[in-house]
Structure formats: C-alpha cells, structure tokens
Amino acid sequence: MTGIDSGTPGRPSMDLLRFATAGSVDDGKSTLIGRLLLDSKSIFADQLAAVEATSVSRGYDYTDLALLTDGLRSEREQGITIDVAYRYFATPNRKFIIADTPGHVQYTRNMVTGASTADLGLVLVDARQGLTEQSRRHAVILSLLRVPHLVLCVNKMDLVEYSQERFHEIHKEFTSFATKLSIPDLTIIPISALKGDNVVTRSKDMDWYEGPSLLHHLENIHVASDRDLVDTRFPVQYVVRPKSDEYHDYRGYAGRVAGGILKPGDDVLVLPSGMTSKISEIDLFDKALQEAFPPMSVTVRLEDDVDVSRGDMICRPQNAPTPSQDIDAMVCWMSTTPLRPRQKVAIKHTTRTARALIKDVLYRLDVNSLHRDLETKELTLNEIGRVQLRTTIPLLCDPYEKNRTTGSFILIDEATGVTLGAGMIN
C-alpha cells in the first residue's frame, strides 16, 4: 500500500476519516472546529490574521475561532451557516474531512447530506442545557443514515465548574435515549471548545474523566471494519475498450467496489442478465491486483465474453442482491414542492438510473420524538418518511443497513433536473 509500507521520507502513512458535525451558533460547534483546525496547525497565518482583525473590529474579548469556518458572503452577513461546508485537517496519522452542517430543523436535508458519507457523527450539547430537541434530532439523523460511530461532546464544561455530576446526568440521559436508536458505537466526552479542555489534550480540570480527548479518539477509531467486506457488490460504471492494436481484445468493467473482497479466480454472477463467469484480472491502472475491496476504484476483467454494461452488478452466485421493482425506503425530502403519491420521478441507484412512481407514503417520522405520523400522505421539505415506490426497471439493491452504497438512492425531478430527495432502502 502506498505510504504504509514504504520507508521513503516525505510519503504519508495515513488514512482517512470523514466525520459530520451539526449544530447551531450557540452550542459552540464552530468554535470546536476552529479549535481542532488551530491546534492541529491547519490554520494559516493569513487566515488567522483575518479572523483576529474581524474579532477586534467587532469588539470581542477573544479571537472568535468560529469565524474561521463561515463561508459564503450571505452567511457572513447573516452570521449563520446554511449549507454543508467541508473542512480539512490532518494529524500525522490521519486526514480528516469534516462535513459541517447547521443544526436547525429547516436544515435537516443538509444534515442528511453531511451524514451520508460520514464514518463518524459528532453531536454537541451545552452542559448547562443538557439534551435539547436539536441534539436528539442530530442523533436520530446520524442513526437513520447508519453512521457507524457517534461521539457526544458535552461542551462548555467550564461553565458548569467541570462538574462530574452534571456530566453523568447528561451521559445517563443520552444513553437511555440512544437505546431507541441504532448506534453501533457511542462515546461521550466532556469538553470545553473555548478553553480547549479534552479537545486535543486531556483536561487538567477534569481528572475524574478517564477517557480519551476528542482528537485522540478521532485519530484512533477503526473505520475499515465498518465496510462490508463479505458481500461482493461491484456496480459496473463504465466499460473500458481501448480499441487499440496493443489492447485489441481488452474489455474491462470499471467501477468502485461497494462490498466484499474481489479476487482473480472468483466465480461471479452478473445481474440482471444472470450470466456467470470468473474474474480473470483486476486492474488498477497498469498494475494487476491480488484483491480489491471497498472503496477502491478498479477495472475487473472476466474470463468469458459475457455482455456486461453500465448499470449491471457483478456479485457472487451464492450471494447476490434481489432485483426488485418495488422499493420500500425511508426518504428525506429536499424540495419545496411536496412528495405525494402518484408522483413520477427519476431515480438514481448505484450506476443505474430509472423512472419511479411514488406508490404510497406510509408515515412521516418526527425526527425529534421518533413518533410515526400515519395520517400524513405527503412529505414536505426536510421531512423524513417511509415511502413505497415502483420502478420501471429492477434495482439491484440491498437493505441500507447492510450496505450504504447499494442501499441508497436519490430522486430527481425529470423536468427541472434538481435533486428532490434521498432514500435508504428497508
């Protein structure tokens, strides 16, 4: 592997962690991110100088680290974050991509977007207030999007005199709430983003806390095992045919491994045709690989000259998704025009695009209380509900809880081209 086994100086030996945060101006999320960026030395002198100057001109007593992360001018003017913003920082062993989203209910779609690619979700609560509707909502969304790791940061511990008792109250309250959700891995950390307690280094004021600092936890969590390494799923994205003298007979199926470990010699089944063959080679540029696993982009060649095209799925004869035209899914609606039964939309699932008819809205989920509203027959902007669809061609899908790639889809307005919603297959 590049970087890991090479002793060449200047080469990185690091991996990647994507995490999502959500929160409002008040709970200190931007300050926390600013702190992570600053303390990991990801802030440049000119950026810091600009933020210091702004803080002084606004009459603040301290440098407002939150200013480091607000982007577009309209947001600067309103003083709020209204979209998903991506930030980057790295420590010697790991690169981090933060999907930073606003926390209010009117930005649920942004939170869903940020969580869709995250390995870890970070929820913040203010130690003085404890769990709020907003922090519960974040946890519910992270759980719905099957983000495998969740970290609850109990922030502003400095304002509750670093009270162990207060921390335990919140700890207990959240753990009991979390039993209603699907959270494979939960960690709760008392911090002060403003003072830096337990963010990068362990706090001197909370010797009763024996766990890791937030950054230490983020650096050490194991994410490769969250991916499905058992069920082989290779959605064919593009057929590589060089049509050159040198590679006259080359026919490769390019795609990104969505599940399982592919090896030359493996028996494979191609859906939807149902034809079988064996993998002859797995190519990554000019190298022949011994194996390929998620999320690698490779080119697979088969022994037999079977007809395979974009939208097909390569899997194993004894382990294949069930082709289905009837889809039952949790859908987050992202358009101002409501989702209603009988509506026709385009659906994009892996590398396959089809048309779909909305058959029914079974219920609307209240993301604050988990209450199911069975009366509603439509979903409006930012609402999440259980929906049944019928597609024009079969989709080769898995339940989202099993595979986040083959279990997800987006809905597209055929007239305007905009993305209407995101779905997670049940």
């Binding site: 590049t2 970087g3 990647l16 440049f44 994205q237 590679y247 000019d286 982009s297 905009v418 993305t419």
Partner: protein, 303 residues
Amino acid sequence: MTVHADYRLSQLDELEGESIHIFREVAAEFEKPVLMFSGGKDSIVMMRLAEKAFFPAKIPFPVLQIDTGYDFPEVLSCRDSWVSRLGVRLIVASVEEAIAKGVVVDDGKTSRNRMQTGTLLHAIEEHGFTALFGGGRRDEEKARAKERVYSHRDDFGQWDPKNQRPELWSLYNGRIHAGEHMRIFPLSNWTELDIWHYLGQEQVEIPSIYCAHRRRVFERDGMLLSESEHNPLRPGETVEERTVRFRTVGDLTLTGCVESDADTIPAIIDEISIARLTERGATRGDDRFSEAAMEDRKREGYF
C-alpha cells in the same frame, strides 16, 4: 500497491479511488465532457487521474486550455509533453483571440486572469461542452468549502451558491438542460499537501517553475514577480536575480514567487508543511482585492 492486512487504504489511495469514480461517472453520463488544463499542479494530478481512470484506453475527452498570452513558457512546455504522451486532443482558447473577436474587452485595467472567464464561457458555447472538469479544491479558499463535486451552471455559466443541489453518498446528479453545463471537481476533497504527496508518489512531470531555480525578479505590492516583457517595470522597481519557486501558476503578471531552496518534491513538501501562508493569499494578486473576491469570480463563471 500492496494490500494491508486490515483492508485500510491510505488517504491517497482513497482520494484517488474517489476521483477516478467521478471521472468515470462523468464520462458515462455526459455527452461532451472536457478537461480544463492549466499546466498547474492540480491539473497535472487531474491528467494523471484521468489517465488511470480509463487505462489502457485513451482519455475519452479533449483537454481545454485558456491561453492568457501571459503564461509561463515552462508551463506550456509541460502541457505539450503531457498532451503528446497521453495522445489527447488539445483545444486552446486564447484570450488574445477573444479580445480580437470582441468576445471580451481589454480596458487596460482588467487582469488577464479575469478575462479568462469570458474566453472560457465563449469556448464552452462554441464547442457545446456539457461538463468541464476543473482542478478546484475545497481547501483552497472559504468560498470553495461549500462547492459541490458536480456544480451546476446556468445558461450564462453562472453559479448560484444558494441554489446548489444536495450531494449525497457518491450519487451524483448530472441532469442539465440544453445550454447549461456542469463544472466537475474531482479534487474537491484533496488538500494542497495531498496534491504534493501524490505528485511525489506518482513521479510525474510537473512544470519546472514549481521547483527552486534562479530567476530575475522584482518586488511589487509585497510580491515577487518575474521579469517579463508583459511585466513592464514601474518607477522605483528594480530587477535582481534570486532563488525562487512558484506555489501556483497562472497569469505571470499577477503570480508571485517565493524565495525558496526547495528543488525536489520532498523538499517542497517539507517547506509547505511549515508554511504559514495559504497558497492563494501569498502569491495570487487576483484574490487579494477583497475578502469576497473568489466568490465574485465564481459567480461570474470562473472556476
């Protein structure tokens, strides 16, 4: 590439896989994609990724360069070497020609970098491109942090930051209407350091001006600019030879260099790792005019 026992990918392998997936997705779904190639380090990485994405087939789309007339000769020669090695078709849209045709107006005050926008939009229309790959990274500048991988542009090539499509998982929505196009940013999640580590790993040709060399330079507005017929000296400015390198390449009348002894990629990486100024803030005159400079240019159709 050898595989680690616990199926971890290095961050470069994961970024590479993500970018290759984007290149293939666009090639599969768009009628007329084109790769924007400036000869800068980001576009070198783009060429490398495109090469890998379709290997052993050739890159299935042409390469477009906007010639400002003020480009560094070292950059153009690197471009030519890449284009000939990969056997791709190169389309050059020239700012000079656009001025001559009246597509853009040279008022003597607007920089060539800014005039690229009009030239680019004209070229898109002329060739009917539906998808343009650009080397933009989200870590470059605040306005880019919220940019999508697929960034929709209207009939006028404009970007509407308030009306971006949500982008989930790796499911990209490439729907456009006639006359519209999509800007595609496969390097969205790469940082400046990732780019350099990758160039070091791949050992590919980059423009020589990125590495330390002796150059005749002069100081202007706190930046070191290259002596050139396009850069007439102003009163009080004097030329001297120094050891410098460029952190970005662009219009040579605006792109400054920094004093540096870093003459190899590992030395550049060491230098960047301790650098305390962002690459754009330090050496790009066009980003300095206002805090929202980049956002304004993006709205107009700049990358």
